[in-house]
C-alpha cells in the first residue's frame, strides 16, 4: 500500500490516502495537483510536511521510475540501447544482466527495432516509448506515468497498457485526461484544487460532470 498521511507539498494537501497495488488512474483538471501527487509517490518530490510511504518505506528507498509528460526531457544518451541500459549500469550490474534487462524491456514496449537507432533521430512518440522502456528496465516497484496518453494514439495505448501492467511493478500510477483510459484502471483518484475529491467509481464519474458542465 502507498500511504500518504498529513501530506503538504506545493498546492497539494492530503489528510489520508491509501493506494492499493495495481493500476491507478489519477485524474483532475490542470493545476489540481496530479503531477505533485505522482512525484511524491515515486520520490522525486519530498513533502513539506507529512509522510509518504510505499510498503512502509520512503519512496526514495525503493525502486521507482517516472516517465514524464510529453514532450519530456528527451533522453540522456545518444544510443537507444544505452538509455535502456542506464539504470542497470548505474546499479553496477554485470553487462550480461544489463543486456537481459534491456532486451526484456525493449520487447515489452515493442521498441526492439529501435535499439540500434540514435535517440536524436527518433520522433517524439518514439522517444516517449524509449523513455517508457528505460523506466521498465529498472524493474521498479512504483512506476509513474505522467500524462500517459498525451501523445499516444488509441492503438499504441491498447498495445502498451497490458505491457505496462505486466511489468511486475507493484504500483502503476498514471495521470490522464481520457475517461476511457481511466475506466481501464483498477482504481482511480480524482484531485481538485489540491485535495482528493473522490476515489473509485465516483472519481470516474467526475468526467461526466466536467463534460456536462461545459
Amino acid at each position: 500500500m502507498i500511504e500518504l498521511s498529513a501530506v503538504s507539498a506545493r498546492n497539494l494537501r492530503v489528510d489520508r490516502l491509501e493506494i492499493p497495488p495495481g493500476l491507478t488512474a489519477v485524474i483532475g483538471m490542470n493545476g489540481a495537483g496530479k503531477t505533485t501527487l505522482l512525484e511524491l509517490c515515486c520520490g522525486l518530490l519530498l513533502p513539506d510536511a507529512g509522510a509518504v510511504l510505499v510498503d512502509g518505506q520512503p519512496p526514495r528507498e525503493t525502486d521507482a521510475a517516472l516517465v514524464p509528460a510529453f514532450p519530456g526531457p528527451a533522453l540522456v544518451f545518444s544510443r537507444v540501447a544505452d538509455e535502456l541500459a542506464s539504470s542497470g549500469r548505474f546499479a553496477g550490474l554485470p553487462p550480461d544482466e544489463v543486456a537481459g534487462r534491456v532486451a526484456a524491456a525493449a520487447d515489452a514496449v515493442g521498441v526492439r527495432p529501435l535499439l540500434g537507432r540514435s535517440t536524436r533521430s527518433l520522433s517524439g512518440g518514439e522517444q516517449f516509448m524509449v523513455s517508457l522502456a528505460a523506466a521498465l528496465a529498472s524493474r521498479p516497484l512504483v512506476l509513474v506515468l505522467d500524462e500517459f496518453d498525451g501523445v499516444l494514439d488509441r492503438e499504441s495505448l491498447a498495445d502498451l497498457l497490458p505491457a505496462v501492467r505486466a511489468t511486475g511493478a507493484r504500483y502503476v500510477l498514471l495521470s490522464t485526461h481520457e475517461p476511457a483510459l481511466a475506466a481501464l484502471a483498477d482504481q482511480a483518484v480524482a484531485l481538485a484544487d489540491g485535495r482528493v475529491a473522490a476515489t473509485g467509481a465516483a472519481a470516474c464519474a467526475l468526467f461526466d460532470a466536467w463534460e456536462n458542465a461545459a
Binding site: G28, M29, N30, G31, A69, F70, P71, S121, L122, S123, G124, G125, E126, F128, M129, E147, G150, V151, L152, D153, R154, E155, S156, H177, E178, P179, F207, W210, E211, A213, A214
Partner: protein
C-alpha cells in the same frame, strides 16, 4: 479560394519519409496517425519550417499563416501574461477572461503550467484570424473543460485549420479526417 496544396510532396528527415499529395480547403482538418508516423514533420513543413525533398507546397490566398507547436513554452515572448497577449496584437482584457487566466495577468508566462501555457497560446493563436492555422497536438496538455472549449473553437474557426491529433472525443463532427499510414497521407479516418 483559400487552400493549401501539397503537390506530390515528399518529406524526408533522416530515415523518415512521408509522401503527401493533398489539398486542404477551408474548414477543420484533423490528421491522425501512429507514433512516428510524421504528424509533427508534416506540421513543420506546412508551417514553412521544413523544405520538401521534392514536390511543392503552395499556399493559395493565404496572407497570414500560424503554427503552434507541441511546446507552448516556445511561443512565450512577453514579460507578463498580459504582455504576451498584447504581443499577438490582441487586447489583453477580454481575452484573458476567455482563457480563464485573468487572475494570472501579471505572472511570468514561463511560470505557468503547461496546460495554462497551452490555453494561452492556443487562445491567442485562434483569436488571430489567420488564413492558415497549423496546430501540433493541441489537445495534449489540456484538461477536459479545456478540450471541450478547444473543440468548440476549432469548429467555428475560419480559414484553413489543420490539427495534428489523435484525440477525437471533442472534435466537431464537421472535421475532415486524414490519416498518415505507411508513409503516406490518406483521406479518411479510423
Amino acid at each position: 479560394m483559400t487552400a493549401v496544396i501539397l503537390d506530390r510532396v515528399v518529406l524526408e528527415r533522416g530515415p523518415f519519409r512521408l509522401e503527401v499529395d493533398a489539398v486542404f480547403g477551408p474548414g477543420l482538418h484533423v490528421v491522425a496517425g501512429r507514433i512516428g508516423a510524421g504528424k509533427s514533420t508534416l506540421a513543420l513543413a506546412l508551417a514553412g519550417g521544413l523544405a520538401p525533398a521534392s514536390g511543392a507546397i503552395r499556399l493559395e490566398s493565404i496572407s497570414r499563416r500560424l503554427w503552434v507547436g507541441q511546446s507552448p513554452g516556445h511561443h512565450m515572448t512577453g514579460a507578463t501574461v498580459e504582455a504576451e497577449v498584447a504581443s499577438w496584437g490582441l487586447a489583453p482584457g477580454p481575452h484573458l477572461d476567455r482563457f480563464g487566466l485573468a487572475d494570472r495577468a501579471a505572472a511570468d508566462p514561463f511560470r505557468l503550467s503547461r496546460g495554462e501555457q497551452q490555453r494561452l497560446v492556443l487562445g491567442c493563436a485562434l483569436a488571430t484570424d489567420a488564413d492558415l492555422s497549423i496546430l501540433d497536438e493541441p489537445f495534449a496538455p489540456l484538461d477536459v473543460p479545456g478540450r471541450i472549449a478547444l473543440g468548440r473553437a476549432l469548429g467555428t474557426h475560419p480559414g484553413v485549420t489543420i490539427a495534428m491529433t489523435h484525440t477525437d472525443r471533442y472534435l466537431p463532427p464537421t472535421a475532415t479526417r486524414w490519416r498518415i499510414r505507411s508513409g503516406r497521407l490518406d483521406p479518411g479516418g479510423q
